[in-house]
């Protein structure tokens, strides 16, 4: 293997130096290849992960000891708001979209996503939406009311900067991106499967991405409307959430959590899908109870729509409502438990290889169970009354989102990096990363449960020294730095392995699913001829005996004409136009106020400019499609 270092096959020779660099940039800006789009999703998410992590470290530093005043209180509010928003919408979700983009089409044996250009539009809308929201730091102040932005704190008389407007308009862009991406995933997985790739043969990662996509399509509209109403409140004089004017702050909470709870599963289900691929591969066994893992994912997704008000126990709903939502929340423990036992059953009696990917997958099971049990506590209204809005909640959600979702995503990185780049990540560095993260996560988030029970409220800026919270807070801050060190080590591992990592070959893990049957990295067309699938583990059965449950496990179809859509700049231009229009809409209040008194000199020129760019891009896009490109 080592002899092959530095001799990876290249599909074409590129010019060196600046010209080569510019060609690469233009290639990526105009690409409609799901693999390149996936790589850009993953790269951008990692940058946002580092930024959100930096914000977390600033927060943790400020909380490291009592009475610290390292950060101004107002900046602190902006930091924890942007930390939450970044991690949810710009890191974990697009990580999942990145893996989905790269691997879902290959895993079902398709050439590309169902709508390649729309796929590029999703990417650019996400990227511009994130940049737009971060521009708020330079333009008068970032959003500052928490990632759930409870009304009426978000109204213009309490949040006076344009921060919340940035939040609403930026998140609207991220929502559009996710909706389009989700529709694309659903249609690709349901409609572009290779012959023989029946629904009950789809890899579990594909299953979970489909469930996630349905959650997004059906839940995002609710928060979109909530945010539009907030935008109207802030800029056009409505009073949807202002109680003294007849509005209802709880309307925000209902609309937000009707999205916000399914969103939790949007973040965790793809990670569950990833480890459902990793565990069988490294235990060298089929997954235990494939159908149960798949159907319990659907059950979790379905139940996820019925429990949103468990985030609102403390607002004073009638006992019968609390009881119903509590029951629903507890019920989710059943399909989740089914999955946990399936994973353990997969490991049971397996011939286990403790690769880094496997360690992260096993770490996921352990830490997700801890986080999940914290959730069962919070699902009980009497307990919730005591610990709501304390650090117990913060501990719970970070255990499932860092110890669960992010650790699952890291498992995916170590598992699929060789497929995406042709090179293996360093196992030694990877295992160090694993130790840093598990230690760091435990030190940071386990004491949060304790501090919550001791009464430390969440979102506070500092605290007095006589509360008895100092020691645990210091330990947490130390743990947070360990997580940060692990993330940097991972970045170093990626950069080093890209340059001089061991050449992986096509199938370094003896994998079972279709992505291992093509080269590393896969060619633009994924498979030279269409695979014909006869098994749930087509490539494994193909390598070990050849028979599936109906004929050959994996055959390659007859040669055919390969049509790939040509590159297009217009998805990026269209997304840029949307960002320009959003920038103009920041100032709709000035417009509305001057027009109300008959002063028409203020005009929405920036919005119109954005709309013109959008229409121009859409027209050119349509011309390309009509020309059959």
């Amino acid at each position: 293997m080592a002899a092959h270092v530095g001799t990876l096959p290249r599909t074409r020779k590129k010019p060196e130096g600046l010209t080569g660099f510019l060609i690469t940039v233009i290639d990526y800006m105009t690409t409609v290849d799901h693999k390149r789009i996936g790589v850009m999703y993953l790269g951008a998410s990692f940058v946002f992960l580092l930024v959100g992590g930096l914000e977390a470290l600033l927060i943790r530093t400020q909380l490291g000891a009592s009475n610290l005043k390292l950060i101004a209180p107002d900046l602190y509010n902006q930091l924890f708001t942007m930390h939450g928003t970044t991690m949810v919408f710009m890191a974990v979700m697009p990580f999942n979209a990145g893996f989905g983009n790269y691997f879902l089409p290959i895993m079902v044996g398709a050439r590309d996503m169902a709508y390649p250009r729309l796929n590029a539009l999703s990417l650019w809308t996400f990227l511009f939406g994130g940049l737009f929201m971060y521009a708020s730091f330079l333009l008068g102040g970032a959003p500052n009311a928490g990632w759930f932005s409870y009304a009426p704190l978000t109204e213009s008389n309490y949040s006076v900067t344009h921060g919340m407007d940035f939040w609403v308009l930026g998140l609207q862009m991220l929502g559009v991106s996710s909706t389009l991406g989700a529709i694309n995933f659903i249609v690709t997985a349901l409609n572009l499967r290779a012959p023989g790739m029946r629904i009950n043969r789809m890899p579990l990662f594909v299953w979970m991405t489909v469930v996630t996509s349905f959650l997004l399509v059906l839940s995002l509209p609710s928060v979109s409307i909530a945010m539009i109403l907030l935008l109207f409140d802030r800029n056009l004089g409505t009073n949807f959430y202002i109680a003294k004017m007849g509005g209802d702050p709880l309307l925000w909470q209902h609309l937000f959590w009707f999205f916000g709870h399914p969103e939790v599963y949007v973040m965790i289900l793809p990670a569950m899908g990833i480890i459902s691929e990793v565990l069988p591969t490294f235990a060298r066994k089929p997954i235990f109870g494939y159908s149960f893992v798949a159907y319990s994912g659907i059950a979790i997704g379905f139940l996820g729509f019925t429990v949103w008000a468990h985030h609102m126990f403390a607002v004073g709903m009638p006992p019968i409502v609390n009881a119903a939502f509590s029951l629903g929340s507890m019920l989710i423990g059943v399909p989740t438990g089914v999955k946990i036992f399936n994973w353990i059953g997969t490991l049971w009696g397996g011939n286990i290889r403790y690769s880094t990917a496997m360690l992260f997958a096993i770490g996921f099971i352990g830490m997700f169970v801890i986080g999940g049990i914290g959730g069962v506590f919070l699902g009980s209204p009497p307990v919730d009354y005591q610990i709501t809005d304390t650090y117990f909640v913060v501990g719970h959600l970070h255990y499932v989102l860092v110890g669960g979702a992010l650790v699952g995503i890291m498992s995916g990185f170590y598992y699929w990096f060789p497929k995406m780049t042709g090179r293996l990540l360093s196992e030694a560095l990877g295992k160090t990363h694993f130790v840093l993260w598990t230690t760091g996560i435990t030190l940071t988030f386990l004491p949060m449960h304790l501090l919550g029970i001791l009464g430390m409220p969440r979102r506070i800026y500092t605290y007095y020294g006589d509360m008895g919270w100092d020691t645990w807070n210091l330990i947490q801050t130390f743990g947070a730095y360990l997580i940060g060190a692990g993330a940097l080590l991972f970045l170093f591992n990626v950069l080093k392995s890209l340059r001089s990592g061991e050449v992986a070959g096509n199938d370094p893990w003896d994998g079972a699913t279709l992505e291992w049957a093509t080269s590393s990295p896969p060619p633009a067309y994924n498979f030279a001829t269409t695979p014909i699938v006869g098994s749930r583990r087509p490539y494994w059965d193909h390598k070990h005996g050849g028979q599936g449950d109906s004929g050959a496990a994996l055959e390659m179809g007859a040669p055919e004409h390969i049509h790939l859509p040509s590159p297009s700049i217009w998805p990026m231009v269209l997304a840029f136009g949307v960002m320009v229009a959003m920038t103009g809409m920041l100032y709709m209040k000035d417009l509305a106020e001057s027009w109300a008194i008959g002063d028409m000199s203020v005009n929405p020129v920036v919005v119109l400019l954005g709309v013109v760019i959008v229409l121009f891009a859409a027209m050119n896009w349509q011309n390309e499609v009509s020309a059959g490109k």
């Binding site: 909706t179 499967r193 004089g237």
Partner: protein
Amino acid sequence: MENSTPSNHSVGSLGVDSKKLGMWTFMGSEVMLFASLIATYLTFRGKDTVNPPFAHELLNHPDSAFIVAVNTLVLLCSSLTMVLALDGAERGNRRKFFTFILATAALGSLFLGVQINEYAGLIREGLSLSANQFGASFFVLTGFHGMHVAIGVFLLLYAAFRGKVQGFTREFPLAVEIIGLYWHFVDLVWVVIFMIVYLLK
């Protein structure tokens, strides 16, 4: 079921065209969008007891209710003309297609005109976005629907334009069918909104 290949985008593994499946999925999202708006409207319905003008004074007035009912009929008729336009596109009957797609667009525009006229009347009565909760939730709900109708009219005109410029290509009936799906959805949502806003006592 399994005779498709991934490179063949016309009919996929489910036996449906991918673009049509995408439109159906998108409509699932749209249903939830309008459900959220209707829930918002119902949250505030009948709660305005202090700030006039009140909903019952404005909406249950026989004249205005009659006009809106006729307008609903206009929109429902446009669904019929849409079906006839699609039939024209599928049979390659150019005259039938152009007649009925333009009729659909005209009916949609008529609906919008009547709605704008209704808004003008309500604003004269003192209703506005900021007047009270009824004004806010009414304008946002019906305004969102009106925006959807406007986008629909734009798409209908685009279909007519495409039929004129590119002719009746092989993909053309499908494009008309997908635009038609959206149009029928917009009609159907209006029936629900009409019942909740104007008929519910």
